[in-house]
């Protein structure tokens, strides 16, 4: 018999330094604090220290997971680490994390490169490992230092994105049963959200005297927005039907990737989800890419009652999207 997979515990870590709207408006005087707060729904974001990287944040989130939930790290038999800002081209960040956390060397470990859909993809991979009998206790980490990809003159991206890491334990028992997945990909939108330079195809081009913006994160906001308008309603519908559910009223909670509050409210109304069923948490951490879903699940954890269902939806860079339905135990 195939083993069922569950989310057993979630913790997350936010870096110490906080970038407030007040500080942003000082740099970009054409914006007002109220406007940023109202339109994007973000009051502050956390920014990693200059010498703080994806592995460091992954480790801090994992240590919080072990401490807050009394988890024995010796039980971890697989590490999945989602990042688009790894410490190195190679080796895999998850290997560094294994050693520094003291997880047994008998554990498997790998990084995977996804963004806003990354947590749902991680749940899918972890469920596969458990159902296949390959692992029993998967440490699923999301960790991003997008701030290091963003140029300081980029008002839009600096407003939206914050750094964060999350750590979840996916196991053969837990508080939320992982249901059926809907996953999708449309690489035709690959250059709407991209760091073009710095890897093999096109190396870093900035010099001491000349800044090359292609070395930094680029987002075609209108392109990404139109993608979500087209993709997310059917993602929700297909995720429901894969889980033998019909209509948005068949689910108690909706947890969408926290892109920005304006876009989420538009999507929510378009799909016909009531505000009280739609969980948000980005006001004090911003869009933290693959960490937004676990942060929302953690922050609203006390709302989840036995038998209730939550639909998770991640969508963005790639383009890539994924949905799942959790059933709370």
């Amino acid at each position: 018999m195939m083993s069922q997979a569950y989310i057993k515990a979630i913790s997350y870590y936010l870096p110490e330094h906080i970038l407030t709207n007040e500080a942003l408006v000082k740099e970009f005087p054409e914006w007002t604090v109220e406007k940023v707060a109202k339109k994007v729904g973000i009051n502050q974001r956390h920014i990693s220290a200059q010498d703080e990287f994806t592995s460091d944040m992954a480790i801090k989130a994992s240590q919080k997971l072990f401490e807050e939930h009394s988890i024995d790290k010796a039980d971890i038999d697989f590490i999945l680490l989602c990042t688009q800002s790894p410490d190195y081209f190679l080796p895999t960040t998850a290997c560094i994390v294994q050693d520094r956390l003291g997880i047994p060397t008998s554990a498997g470990a790998l990084d995977y490169n996804q963004g806003c859909s990354g947590y749902v993809y991680g749940l899918a991979l972890a469920k596969g490992l458990i159902a296949g009998g390959i692992a029993k206790n998967v440490l699923l980490i999301t960790s991003e230092v997008y701030s290091k990809h963003i140029h300081q003159s980029d008002k839009g991206n600096r407003t939206i994105f914050g750094d964060a890491a999350s750590a979840s334990l996916i196991s053969t028992d837990g508080f939320a049963a992982i249901g059926e997945f809907e996953l999708g990909t449309d690489g035709s939108g690959f250059d709407d959200l991209i760091v073009k330079n710095g890897a093999m195809k096109s190396g870093t081009k900035s010099t001491d005297t000349n800044i090359e913006m292609d070395d930094f994160l680029f987002m075609n906001g209108a392109g990404v927005f139109n993608f979500t308008l087209a993709a997310v309603p059917s993602l929700v519908e297909n995720t429901l039907s894969k889980n033998q559910l019909e209509g948005v009223e068949s689910v108690d909670w909706f947890v969408f990737h926290q892109a920005n509050s304006f876009m989420l409210n538009h999507l929510r109304k378009k799909i016909g989800i009531e505000q009280e069923n739609f969980l948000m948490h980005m006001q004090d951490c911003g869009n933290t890419v693959s960490s937004t879903l676990p942060i929302v699940l953690k922050e609203h954890h006390e709302k989840f009652k036995t038998g209730q269902k939550a639909l998770l939806a991640g969508f963005g860079v790639g383009y890539s999207w994924g949905g799942n339905v959790l059933t709370f135990c």
Binding site: K39, G156, A222, N226, F262, H266, K270
Partner: protein, 76 residues
């Protein structure tokens, strides 16, 4: 499509620019308040009110509100 209504919906996406400043011939991308966030709000408004998806290029290629209205009309 009602021209006055479109201009009103368009004007509602702005906080600081006075509603009476918006006319069919207004060159909206020249407005001080215009930025990428307002552009997203205009895309959302057109999706919500007219069930039409305009692209970033559609907006960049429009000079006046009337130009954008013509794009929406052509996509209906």
């Amino acid at each position: 499509m009602n021209k006055e209504e479109f201009i009103q919906f368009f004007a509602e996406q702005f906080d600081e620019t006075e509603p009476e400043e918006f006319k069919a011939e207004t060159e909206f991308r020249q407005l001080e308040e215009w930025d990428s966030m307002v552009a997203l709000m205009v895309i959302a408004m057109i999706d919500e009110e007219y069930n039409v998806k305009v692209s970033g290029d559609d907006i960049r290629n429009s000079t006046t509100i009337a130009d954008l209205m013509a794009v929406v009309e052509s996509k209906k």
